[in-house]
Symmetry: C2
Subunit: 345 residues, 2 copies
């Protein structure tokens, strides 16, 4: 008998897409904001924060007195490694299957008051190292097939704690967005023998207009098809399938690139620019997928000011995404920003 109290996937028969259901998770505590502005000044240490060094978390564990990043399993994980239930639920049009996974939290800094753009480049580099280490470690669990590394920044993006941190969700099945992207990349690879994104890098370098950052190892563009107002795409110049393949130089370069990009973001509205960002990379523990090309999406919601965002609502949910400014205009605004953070200039 299928247990609907365990994390599981459900298939939408109208779209063919799946939703992950995590009933046990509704018990997690809420520290987040209630639809209000960002608070701009925070102490360097907050005794109530479950991410600050030496503090005790909800489950009684004490955080170490960490110096750079710190990783632990989410106390309120949406996925669990060994759900009691197994198998599938198949009742004709009602289809479900169990799902398992591991959810981790990664504090970016011991400092409660910082964010990525305000951190030192070397400290961001330590986080990139941690991402790579975690990726390689999680990959060793044979039933894990996809590892999603991401960050929700700002209360407007559902971040329930302002202490700088990201998350890693590793799971058994391949999520819908990854399947979609995999399919498209595979088709191009089979047709041309080349990476879709490698060819896209060439196209953007030819046009120039949407490029925000172009260094030896990474290209950052407002993609031609951006949905969010200031959406960007970070592409590795080398055709890597995943972060596990990055060299030391590439990791340092990614830290540099992320610092510059997030600094430009903060400077647009002189605010801590909210976003959800994350890497898309090849599934793991499955056949080789040479078509995959590592990249990172930044989905920031702000549109008009530090407090007015773009709403992806009625028409967007029911019909098609819709945006109000061109990607080229957004790129121009991002290009015009200083690479020095507004708080330091």
């Amino acid at each position: 008998m299928f247990d609907f109290d365990q994390p599981h996937l459900r298939t939408n028969i109208l779209t063919g897409e799946k939703v992950l259901v995590s009933p046990h998770r509704s018990a997690r505590p809420w520290q987040g904001q209630v639809e209000a502005g960002q608070t701009e000044t925070r102490p360097t240490y907050d005794s109530q924060c479950y991410l600050c060094p030496t503090n005790t978390r909800a489950n009684g564990t004490q955080n170490p007195d960490y110096k750079n990043g710190f990783v632990f399993t989410n106390d309120f994980s949406a996925l669990l490694p060994n759900p009691n239930a197994e198998g599938t639920f198949d009742n004709d049009l009602l289809q479900a299957e169990t799902e398992r996974g591991i959810c981790k939290v990664i504090a970016f800094s011991p400092r409660h008051d910082l964010t990525l753009p305000e951190m030192e480049e070397t400290d961001i580099a330590a986080i990139v190292d941690l991402w790579q280490e975690e990726f390689m470690m999680l990959k060793q669990t044979p039933w894990i097939h996809y590892i999603q590394i991401f960050e929700n920044k700002g209360s407007i993006m559902g971040c329930s704690n302002p202490h700088p941190h990201g998350q890693i969700w590793a799971q058994q099945s391949i999520p819908v967005e990854i399947k979609k992207e995999g399919k498209q990349q595979l088709a191009h690879y089979q047709r041309t023998g080349r990476s879709l994104l490698q060819d896209y890098i060439a196209a953007e370098e030819k046009e120039q207009s949407r490029i925000i950052i172009n260094n030896e190892h990474f290209l950052v563009v407002v993609p031609f098809w951006a949905i969010w107002p200031y959406e960007t795409l970070v592409l590795s110049k080398r055709h890597c399938q995943h972060i596990g393949q990055f060299t030391d130089i590439e990791k340092l370069s990614l830290a540099h690139t992320l610092k510059e990009l997030t600094t430009r973001y903060d400077n647009i509205f002189k605010t801590s620019f909210p976003y959800s960002a994350g890497m898309h990379q090849s599934p793991v523990n499955t056949e080789e997928m040479p078509e995959w090309h590592w990249h990172m999406h930044f989905y920031p919601p702000l549109l008009r000011s530090a407090s007015v965002k773009k709403f992806m609502v009625g028409y967007e949910m029911l019909a098609s995404p819709q945006r109000d400014i061109t990607p080229e205009y957004a790129a121009k605004i991002l290009q015009e920003q200083s690479t020095t953070h507004y708080k330091k200039s």
Copy 2:
């Protein structure tokens, strides 16, 4: 030469999906809220509201002294009927095509202070009539292929004016969500000779647990695959392709059904329950699509209280939708609500 300042679609080469770009629209005014709670008391008439009867709108037009609903072309339409530019932009991986359409606004009531659940059933029925009329009228434009009728309710859903109103966007191409749903419905229809949703109605009637409303003409369920916490699906019992086919009795019944559903919603948290809702129906002015079955989605964001919503952010945007309570639990909560509005009891 393709004009990027006109509304157009762009294809995401990673997903194969399209985004509608409407550059001219960034000039529209903002009356909406800045991430704060809902204001609960409003006057019956507001001289600053562009939807109230007799008021003058941004373009200088004066609203009539209307008694039920009132429809007009959106002064800040995302789609225009005759964009100056035509044709497609095809630069290998950068693909775009022009798009045209008509965006209408439909005020639900002359009363500035009401919402659907607080309106009289007969007044809601007048709006259902208007939806049908508008649908039939827009369908007469031969280049229109899809008509999206929807409502964004509440500032949290990007609604920039609290006066009760909805929108209708009619356009030349068939939007991505409609294509997805059409594909799934067609596959089922070709395999079984039956409507997918007709079979789904039978499955839900057998299980009972997710049913909120079940009357002669409509079934309302929290769908098995709901993404939003209290998401519901309104299904016509009769296999109609679109609202144009509804009989007078069915229209009255829809008004009754919507009043009951939105009343139950408001009662959950004793608040004006925000949502985006809209009908999905067959494309028009194209070949017959007997597989299509009229239905209406309600996507409400609230999760824990009147002020804490579910955030569809990092993991959800990058990997897969994720929900925290089961659809069955949500159905139970909705079933327990009174059908009398909390303000009246």
